[in-house]
Amino acid sequence: MSLLTFNVPRNIKGVVAKLPMMIDCQGFEDFLVDYFDGNLTKHQRIIFELHLRFCGECRDFLRAYEAAQILARKTGEAVQLNINNAPDDLVTAIVSALDKPYS
């Protein structure tokens, strides 16, 4: 992340989260699906990035959360490549039944 970042100690993080445009880590999680879908409004995006600037824990969380998604997606892409591997005997059986439907 190219933002200027710093770690606010946890004992004052709760106070910082109450400042205007600030949210706590629990509230931060509500933004995540829309963030990855590219659906955050400009205003929501500012709030989201502000939180990330001062919260090292959420930066670490986001990195691992995104990594989990990448792993799932890459696995999905590999799975899509293999979907034509239906068992030959099953394909043959169905198709041969179709060859003589009126016997």
């Binding site: 706590d24 824990e57 691992a64 959360y65 792993l71 979907i83 041969s96």
Partner: protein, 241 residues
Amino acid sequence: MPICPPQFVHNLGQKTLAACNKDAHGVEKVTLFLNSVSRALGESRSNGISLDIVNESERANAAQIEGIVREHLGWMLALCRRVLGEKAAAEDGVQEALISIFCGLPDLRDTNALRAWLYKIVLNHCLQMLRKRGRLNEEMSGDLASTFDAKGCRIEPTWDNFEAPEDMLVREDMQAIVLSKIEQLPDQYRLVILLRDIEQFSTAETAELLEISHANAKVRLHRARAGLKILLEPLMRGDDK
């Protein structure tokens, strides 16, 4: 209007089962499948729909069905395997779905609509089977959710080491590991990850396929991804070696 005569369905069933009959569940599957065939035929007849169509257009349809089988069987089976999680159940799922499909094909010229329609049928059959297992409403265990202190601040163990996904994917068994971790999520969370991240539907499409609200799909998706992140963490931290 259904386009397959009973004899066709019967032959399809026999041949399909002959192919599936090689494992231990063979006899059980034969019974299940034949029951499904008779049920489908019975329902069609009781709805006043005649299945005894013997003419040229039906032969043309049979050729189209062959094309559909060749084109779609692979992904249908793969989808059932991913949703149902086991080979025997997946084959049952495909068989059940095939009955619905061959008894009510829509306009075959619109291939996009056909694929979406087939997908919905196969998925619905899988969901019905999951409902029968009675685990579709199971909640996520607390261990698989983020933890916060009383002020809503995240409690996250420090990351001394972080292995990037690109490096992890070099491992040959990584896809199998990721799939096995997804398997550990409760069904309702596993399904949103399968549809959104594996099948790569949009969040809105995922909601539509599962017949849940968009807001609900977002909540489930976030919990599922957070759960998967926790399950994959030992690998990312390099603690699994």
